[in-house]
Amino acid sequence: MDPARRLGRAQIDVFAQLGVSTILLGGIYALIAVGLTLIFGIMRVVNFAHGEFLMLGMYAAFWAFHLWGLDPYVVLFVSIPLFFGIGFLTYVLVMRGVIHASHNVQIFTTVGLSIALQNVALVLWTGDFRTVRPWHSSVVIRVLGTAFNLSQVVAFAIALALTLILFAFMKWTHTGRVMRATAQDHDAATLMGIDTDRVYRVTFAIGIACVGAAGALVSPLYAVYPTAGLQFVLLAYVVVVLGGLGDMVGAMLGSLIVAAVEVVGSYVFGVAWKEVFYFALFIAVLVFRPAGLFGQRGAETLGV
């Protein structure tokens, strides 16, 4: 039940609350989706194991908090380089061999990776739901008739900052330009002397670092368990397809749309049905604009 509604405040409060919730949620979804869309845009691989890296990020935050009492935001500084390394290693060990293989091979490589990681977590840490409860998760901020949790605000702010850093990196650094060139035309980039294997290594590592950071950020807000990544990754697929696979700005807008659908859908019809709305949206987009709301028409039939 929405707090504003229970208090019988004016309608405007409800709208303000829904709006704020949408933006806060959208920022976090964006960080998860941006890594997925980056990997797709440059490597042309849909990473079906993306959610499992999020889950690992959440576990990293959980254990750091549980064993050493470290705050998830402190863990973030370790998580980003750690997951960059994990992504790098995963590329070298698993993805490099299938980067030029058919879609089916790529799909099932990442699906296999996802099954393996999920169950490594299950074997090591059991299926129990675990929660991280730092002090800031119980601080409520009330502004102009809206109420939200401090962890949510900080998670949003950090997610937004990281996403913007990534944007700036892609736009203004040499490596970013090289990555975009590879995304546009792999063969031409190779002919210009770009080491595409190195680009893929860095891309995969950055994508996984984003989702590892997102894992630390969402850990105070959601429970951690071996299949925790699934709910987020399904949502990230919706976001990424909405925005157009490979389109980073599209992913930001897609995140806001999905968050809005989720927030308003839960408010009007109840939390139980919220997923139905974004899947309905997903199917509608796949049917009517499969290249995404802002994507180039026809991209989906090229099988890219």
């Binding site: 089916n104 699906v111 296999g112 299950l122 840490w125 049905w273 997903f282």
Partner: protein, 326 residues
């Protein structure tokens, strides 16, 4: 017999061995494993019709499995009707669902298609787990056991033969696909859709045929599974894990081959049963170790032996022939 190609001979041998096993062994554990191998094999064969022969790699086939399972659970438990009626209803619903999914997504290729099938199965999962008034929601439904063939309340031995009939039938469907005009056209669409269309093949319509046929076959498997196991739980029957399982068996055995799904099921199902029996008491959650092996095996197989066990067997056979000739 001697004139049959080696794959067919192996299939006849394996199915024959499965038919003879219940005459010799009466151990419930062995028979249960055999039934599951045959059922998962048949279901993977159903997946193979769309995923292997038509190249429509679906990660949402649990949708049709779940429809079949729920159709029989609801007709028997809620309306006290025959499970066979449930099977027919399930097939009708799955054909309709397959038609809709096929119609809506057949423009999509590669990962887009896989993503859309996941979305469809998730919508069904959410709908069944939340619609408490009709489907009993996330609690699931126990399927009543009434002895007799008409009510599908069978003993272990009878279930072996039931599963065997379905497995043989599905094998035959695949062999028919390999030889028929439809099968050749589907292969054309799978290998190069644009070229196939240029030759006048109505690729989008054919893809709908393939997925509806596959959906109907999967639904029958779902019905039988629900009757055999006796309980339907939405989070299992509509799960992505289940969809992956159909694909996994097929890929490990050999995608796009008639025998592949059954070989994959033999290997994966017996590995699973064995590891479960061995590790289940050791530590909670440790049973998940078989899934770690499964996932790793999938990564390794698609990388190093994309044609699966069948491909490996063919490679070894060729090497052996070369040595025999020398």
């Amino acid at each position: 017999m001697a004139s049959l190609p080696p794959g067919r001979r192996a299939a006849v041998g394996l199915l024959g061995a499965a038919a003879l096993l219940p005459l010799v062994v009466r151990d419930a554990f062995v028979l249960d494993s055999l039934i599951l191998i045959l059922m998962w094999g048949a279901l993977s064969a159903a997946w193979n019709v769309a995923g292997g022969y038509a190249g429509q790699v679906s990660l949402g086939h649990a949708a049709f499995f779940g429809i079949g399972a729920y159709a029989t659970a609801l007709t028997t438990a809620r309306f006290q009707q025959s499970p066979w009626l449930g099977m027919v209803l399930g097939v009708a619903l799955s054909v309709a669902a397959g038609g809709v999914i096929g119609y809506l997504s057949n423009r999509l290729r590669g990962p887009y298609f896989a993503l859309s099938t996941i979305a469809f199965s998730q919508v069904l999962l959410i709908a069944t787990s939340r619609w408490r008034g009709f489907t009993a929601g996330s609690e699931g439904i126990p399927v009543p056991f009434r002895p007799g063939l008409a009510t599908l309340g069978l003993g272990h031995v009878a279930w072996v033969y039931m599963a065997l009939v379905v497995a043989a039938l599905y094998y035959a469907v695949q062999v028919w696909l390999e030889r028929s005009r439809l099968g050749y056209q589907l292969a054309g669409v799978r290998e190069d859709e644009d070229a196939a269309e240029a030759l006048g093949i109505a690729s989008r319509r054919l893809k709908i045929y393939a997925i509806t046929l596959s959906a109907a076959m999967t639904s029958v498997g779902g019905t039988l599974w629900a009757q055999y196991v006796g309980f339907v739980d939405p989070f299992y029957v509509f799960s992505i894990d289940l969809s992956i399982r159909f694909a996994l068996n097929t890929i490990i055995g050999g995608i796009g081959t008639a025998l592949g799904p059954f070989l994959g099921s033999m290997l994966i199902t017996s590995l699973e049963t064995y590891l479960r029996a061995t590790f289940s008491g050791v530590k909670t959650g440790f049973a998940g170790i078989y899934l770690v092996i499964y996932g790793t095996a999938l990564v390794l197989v698609v990388r190093f032996a994309p044609e699966g066990l069948i491909g490996l067997a063919a490679r070894f056979a060729a090497a052996w022939r070369v040595r025999a000739d020398a």
